[in-house]
């Protein structure tokens, strides 16, 4: 088995996450799919760190985790705020700018 196999898993997970972001309607599930994409890129970083034999990739993956944590905190706060005013967590309902 080659270490590059992890990269295939990473690509698949990223693609699945991208489909989820586009297809799913619940804002929380959309957020979870974004997290899946971030995790997939982290796996690629860690694998490349191993292939290249230095730890820079792992440091970048660490920073990605921190940024993902920030993103979740702010994003979920936005979802809760929208839910509080509209009683819905569906991304289709927040379409005031369309009209």
């Amino acid at each position: 088995m080659n270490a590059a196999n992890y990269l295939y898993v990473s690509a698949l997970l990223f693609t699945i996450g991208a489909i989820g972001v586009v297809v799913r309607r619940n804002a929380i599930v959309v957020f979870m799919c974004v997290e899946l994409m971030l995790n997939a890129s982290n796996l690629a970083f860690v694998t490349f760190a191993r292939i290249n034999g230095n730890l820079d990739g792992q440091v970048v993956a660490f920073f990605t985790m921190v940024v993902a944590a920030c993103e979740v905190v702010v994003g979920l706060a936005i979802i809760v705020t929208i839910y509080r005013s509209r009683r819905s967590a569906s991304v289709d309902d927040a379409s005031l700018l369309k009209r």
Binding site: A3, I19, L36, A49, R50, I51, F62, V73, A89
Partner: protein, 259 residues
């Protein structure tokens, strides 16, 4: 250039077994996350994917990241997700009907194209050398090596990230804080509203669930004196969830007929 072509490019057999068991499971769980209807099930499947990735990190000599993945992602982030799911409540199951016509086929076609491109790219790419492995770098321990890098080469990024964390925490607090536009109704206001609401049915408060039924629980409507079920006695949340039990089997008349 030094030839580093030792056997580190090929992972050892136990790792191959680990990969071929956990890799497909992770992909299946991610696909399931896409297909299941309830958001809570999606969250649990995502937690499984994250744990799998943590095991992958540890298998790839990234011990620190593996532990951080478990603590931060499956610990903090997924708990936050579940917490918000509980807060947002019972109707969080997603309708899988497509609202924008033709979105789903286009999305899946584009994603298949993207995934196919990535996979074929990875299949054709040559890195110019075989995989080096982290045995040399991690000689003094993974955490020590990471710390040396983090506090020398990446110290500026580290500080910026700390500023980002503080900003995010402040932003979440600002968003979560709501100031009331109208003042909170007092007990007197509520009482006045009850008596002026048209009918006096709820003037003395709503009936309790489970009263006069032989099954005394919050999910059974109480019985009115004429034997009909008082639907207003059950919490709206339970009704929305569909967890209300019919009070008919618990009525006294029904029992008498059996005897």
């Amino acid at each position: 250039m030094i030839n580093l072509a030792i056997n580190v490019g090929q992972t050892q057999t136990p790792e191959a077994v680990l990969f071929w068991i956990l890799g497909p499971l992770a992909v299946i769980a991610a696909l399931g996350m896409l297909l299941v209807k309830k958001a809570v099930h999606s969250a649990i499947l995502l937690a499984w994917v994250m744990i799998t990735l943590a095991i992958f990190y540890i298998a790839q000599d990234a011990v620190f990241l593996g532990i951080v993945q478990v603590v931060v992602y499956t610990g903090a982030v997924m708990m936050l997700f579940l917490f918000i799911l509980m807060l947002v409540g019972v109707d969080s199951s997603d309708s899988l009907t497509e609202t924008i016509r033709g979105l789903r086929p286009i999305a899946i076609t584009a994603a298949l194209g993207f995934g196919g491109m990535m996979v074929s790219l990875l299949g054709r790419a040559t890195l110019g050398r075989t995989s080096v492995g982290l045995a040399d770098v991690n000689a003094e321990g993974n955490v020590q090596a990471l710390a040396a890098l983090l506090f020398s080469k990446y110290v500026w990024a580290f500080e910026v990230v700390s500023a980002l964390l503080i900003t995010a925490a402040l932003g979440a607090m600002v968003l979560a804080h709501n100031h009331r536009i109208i003042s909170r109704p007092t007990q007197r206001d509520l009482s006045t509203a009850r008596f002026r609401s048209g009918s006096l049915a709820s003037a003395a408060g709503l009936p309790n669930p489970g009263v006069y039924a032989l099954h005394n629980a919050v999910d059974v409507p109480g019985l009115l004196p004429d034997g009909t079920a008082a639907t207003s006695s059950v919490s709206e949340t339970l009704k929305a969830r569909g967890d209300v039990i019919e009070s008919k089997p618990f009525q006294l008349e029904a029992r008498e007929e059996e005897e």
